[in-house]
Symmetry: C2
Subunit: 212 residues, 2 copies
DNA sequence: TTGTTAAACGGAGGGTGCCTCCGTATCTTC
DNA sequence: GAAGATACGGAGGCACCCTCCGTTTAACAA
């Protein structure tokens, strides 16, 4: 065997650029037109040929999945940035709000995702993991700063968030969720002495003991 | 105005028959091929022309909805029949199991329904109402017979059922749900004296007080 | 029965989107 | 700058969508 076997070329610049363009276009087109939107429309909007689109994403699901992964990663990065904010509680609140926005702009995408999640439970695992970590880092910081109670796990919070957004077909759901989120975050704050009336629920694993 | 105004013709027999055929075919085709399955395939399987299909169900969603409504009604009727079974607990158990089967055969349909529910919350309301009543009638009978505890509402039960079926993409979900259902039904039974260790949760509205 | 007529049927056909294939253009490497 | 690898674009064949309308059939009246 020759020794160029593992020699790797740098990926072509135009390929990288086009891939990104298609993802961006897909995000817009699917949000507006739902999961049945035409792939040719996506290609046109991205300013690439239909062949290019298919080379990068052989199936419609591949494209859905890539768009979604990218967004989850962006949310994850947002959490990373918010880590440096001064007020940890506010940081958490902002991240949660971004999530609501995320769901809101996905009108059409949600049905597409239902389809995609079915065929790729790996994707579901990936996003859960990523989001849990994001929320966990923000939560831990707020707890460490003594501003939030430590008996709520990131999974709890994520579940509450997802649950709240789940019924996002009723009219006015978004403002409703935002309101509930505020109430929720307020509830998460460390209670001023004498205001904690209910402490019946048993706490989740404390923040301090969770890994990283 | 002439007096034939409200004179109504009997609906044509072939129309009624064809409508039914299309529904049956759609159920099979969508279950197998998912929500994107070809409507032409449905028409062919039903043995009718494509035009006929479109006359009865102008849009794909109309067809989804009609199929689903029909199934919900069948589950509802099944409950009606089971009312006359000797053993009320067994009757309830059977109905729940039928539900699992219902979900299982709907592989492809579930994504379709996600789409349909978004555009028709009336449909969601209809099915919730119907299923709640079905489960309620079975539950009431078991409670009245003194075989089941009365602190669980039909809504609770339905929610538990739906929740259990929600993750129906994991491998082996079905047997898992069936097992959980059995455990659940056992838990619903009136506990033999001395075996009731936990009674902490506050009861839902008692069965006796619910209407009908 | 037979005639009349409203209602339903079927499928051709124009339009759109899907996806493959391959000649051409462009980038990387030497 | 040349060579070769890689990516590009879009024409084209196919499948499906949905409409439209000439033909068929069932319901009703006589």
């Amino acid at each position: 065997m020759d020794d160029h076997a593992d020699q790797i070329r740098k990926p072509r610049a135009d390929a990288v650029r086009n891939r990104e363009r298609v993802l961006e276009a897909a995000k817009l087109v699917f949000s507006a037109g739902g999961p049945e939107a035409s792939l040719e429309a996506v290609a046109k909007r991205a300013g690439v040929g239909i062949g290019t689109l298919y080379r990068h994403f052989p199936t419609r699901e591949d494209l859905f999945e890539a768009v979604y992964r990218r967004e989850v990663e962006q949310l994850s990065e947002l959490a990373e940035q918010l880590k440096n904010a001064k007020d940890p509680v506010d940081a958490l609140r902002r991240w949660l709000r971004s999530n609501v926005e995320f769901v809101a702009t996905k009108k059409g995408m949600s049905a597409a995702l239902a389809l995609t999640f079915q065929s790729s439970s790996e994707l579901a695992a990936f996003s859960m993991d990523r989001l849990t970590k994001a929320i966990g880092s923000l939560l831990d910081r707020a707890v460490a700063a003594g501003e939030m109670r430590g008996d709520v796990s990131p999974e709890d919070l994520l579940r509450a968030l997802v649950g709240m957004c789940y019924m996002h077909d009723q009219p006015g759901w978004q403002s409703s969720v935002l309101r509930m989120l505020d109430v929720f975050v307020d509830g998460l704050r460390v209670q001023p002495a004498g205001r904690s009336k209910t402490r019946t629920a048993k706490p989740a694993k404390s923040a301090a003991k969770r890994k990283r």
